[in-house]
Amino acid sequence: MRFLRRLVGLFVAARTVRELARRPDEEPRIVEPGEPDPRAEAAVIVLLLLAAAAAVLFVVAYALEWSTQVLGGALGASLALVAAALLVVGARLVVTEELAEEYPRTGTPEEQDAVARIVRESGSRFTRKRLLGAAAATAGGALGAALVTPALSLGPALDTSQLNETPWRRGLRLVDRDGRPYTAQDIEDAFYTAFPEGADPKAIGSPIVLVRLDPGELRLPRGRERWAPDGIVAYSKICTHAGCAVALYRNPKFEPAQPDRALVCPCHYSTFDVATGGTVLFGPAGRPLPQLPLMVDAGGDMRAAGGFSGPVGPSWWGVRSS
């Protein structure tokens, strides 16, 4: 019995809501009814769907690594098409009228209701509201997806273990850009970029910088005493701050009066001490440059004696500060 009474109550409530929703039609209009314009509406729908297609093209182009011109063109076209659709809506579909009086303050519920009705009635020229809404949602959704897609390139989101892997293994030879191995005699007063023999030189863990110091000048952390044969030290070339190439080497000719020997990153001037295991002397880097242990084989070639002292490249979650 109680259940039946509830059902009737629900039914009455639904009727009332429908009555309320219908009521505006019975009152006199505020905005003059406008002539429907099916051609303009069709144009808007076509424009919105084209915008969606251009946004999808952006996602496809990004996934297939097409040129940046295609990426920019697709995203620009999508935005331009949305703008064009809005222009058509504004110029051809929204009922326009000139208001000479000042805007009243919309404070009371009745006035707010009137504003809502003005908005609703201004849409009287729209005949295919659902289709238009669907087209707008498609365009908005596709454009949103296009804008979010590049975030996928920021790196692995869940499994970060691959960031810890580098090609360096014990016994790998150090080679230059052209694949020629470095011998200990090759390393003089300049600084040298080296790569692991046979590995991908573009991998973030591949490039290292080599510099020769006076062995007496070295103050490496404990446990790294044998990492620098003949005073030659190797560090990852990727800055631990933002991942730029550490391309600057400060190498004083008259040490007492000039800045100390250091590797400097040109992006934000993180400065790393080459004598003390890559510790940060200055700048935004939060941890030392990872050092690579070296050895010299019987033939004089430089080889790695193990992996890096820490994770290579800018920090991510799971990397401790030292």
């Binding site: 222009l87 504004g90 110029a91 326009t96 850009r177 090759d186 003089e188 007063d189 300049a190 600084f191 040298y192 970029t193 190439a245 391309a247 600057l248 080497y249 400060r250 190498n251 004083p252 000719k253 008259f254 007492p256 009066a257 000039q258 800045p259 250091a262 400097v264 040109p266 001037y269 400065t271 002397l281 200055f282 700048g283």
Partner: protein, 256 residues
């Protein structure tokens, strides 16, 4: 408060002034024209270089706190002596200052005499004779990008590293570039022939010469300051177009 302000102002204004004032006056021997080149070189060295570089180029660190100190010059050869005098880097007022390019302090004859004297102190490399005409600008650009652009920028406009400035190369002559690459003045690394061969050096210098007057394919080069100013210019151009479009759209609405 006023004293603090005045001191700050003096420090701000005085710092660049001091950096340019850093050349001590040249001491010249009496009757300079009558001396043989060897005597002239020795006497100019005694008057202007010895204070820091020591007797017979042995170097000195005793006056370090007051900036009167310098590295030994034995074995540096004519190459380094020629570079530092030709660029006006030496004589330097304070050993802690970075040498900067100035008008040469000695005239050509005096320079040749001092270079000859310093070369006679030990066995050192001669002044190089690069031939940038034989070099390849494209190869030079690659070499410059690899070895030099980190500090000097790819447009050779110079740059900053912590504690030092990398000078622009717009006034560097081919000989000076060849010397600097092998010497590594101040905190610049020296590059051996294994790094940059003499042939590659010719290409590198050809690029440095080219970079003094590069062909700006897009038109205005905006002083080759890089992507940030270029982006700003693009923004200002785009901004005018966008604002113009908005105004055009708005006006059309009003007229109806």
């Amino acid at each position: 408060m006023r004293a603090v302000l005045a001191a700050t102002l003096a420090a701000l204004l005085g710092a660049p002034a001091a950096a340019h004032a850093g050349a001590p006056p040249i001491v010249r021997p009496v009757g300079e024209s009558q001396l043989s080149p060897a005597q002239l070189g020795e006497q100019l060295y005694a008057g202007n270089c010895l204070r820091c570089h020591g007797i017979a180029g042995r170097g000195s660190t005793t006056g370090l706190s007051s900036g009167v100190a310098g590295p030994p010059l034995r074995g540096v050869g004519a190459r380094a002596a020629d570079f530092y005098l030709r660029t006006g880097y030496m004589p330097l007022d304070d050993a802690h200052d970075q040498p900067i390019r100035r008008r040469p302090q000695l005239d050509a004859k005096e320079r040749a005499a001092v270079v000859g004297y310093i070369a006679s102190l030990g066995d050192g490399p001669p002044v190089p004779r690069p031939e940038p005409g034989r070099g390849d600008v494209a190869e030079g650009r690659e070499l410059f990008t690899d070895h030099c652009a980190g500090c000097h920028q790819v447009a050779a406009e110079g740059g900053i590293l912590t504690g030092a400035k990398a000078p622009p190369l717009d006034r560097a002559s081919p000989t000076e570039v060849a010397e600097a690459v092998r010497i590594g003045p101040y905190v610049m690394p020296a590059f051996s022939e294994r790094d940059i061969s003499d042939d590659e050096l010719d290409s590198l210098i050809a690029y440095v010469q080219y970079a003094k007057h590069p062909e700006d394919a897009g038109g205005w080069g905006i002083n080759h300051l890089g992507p940030f100013p270029e982006g700003m210019v693009t923004w200002f151009a785009a901004m005018v177009v966008l604002v113009g479009t908005c105004v055009a759209i708005g006006r059309r609405g009003v007229r109806r």
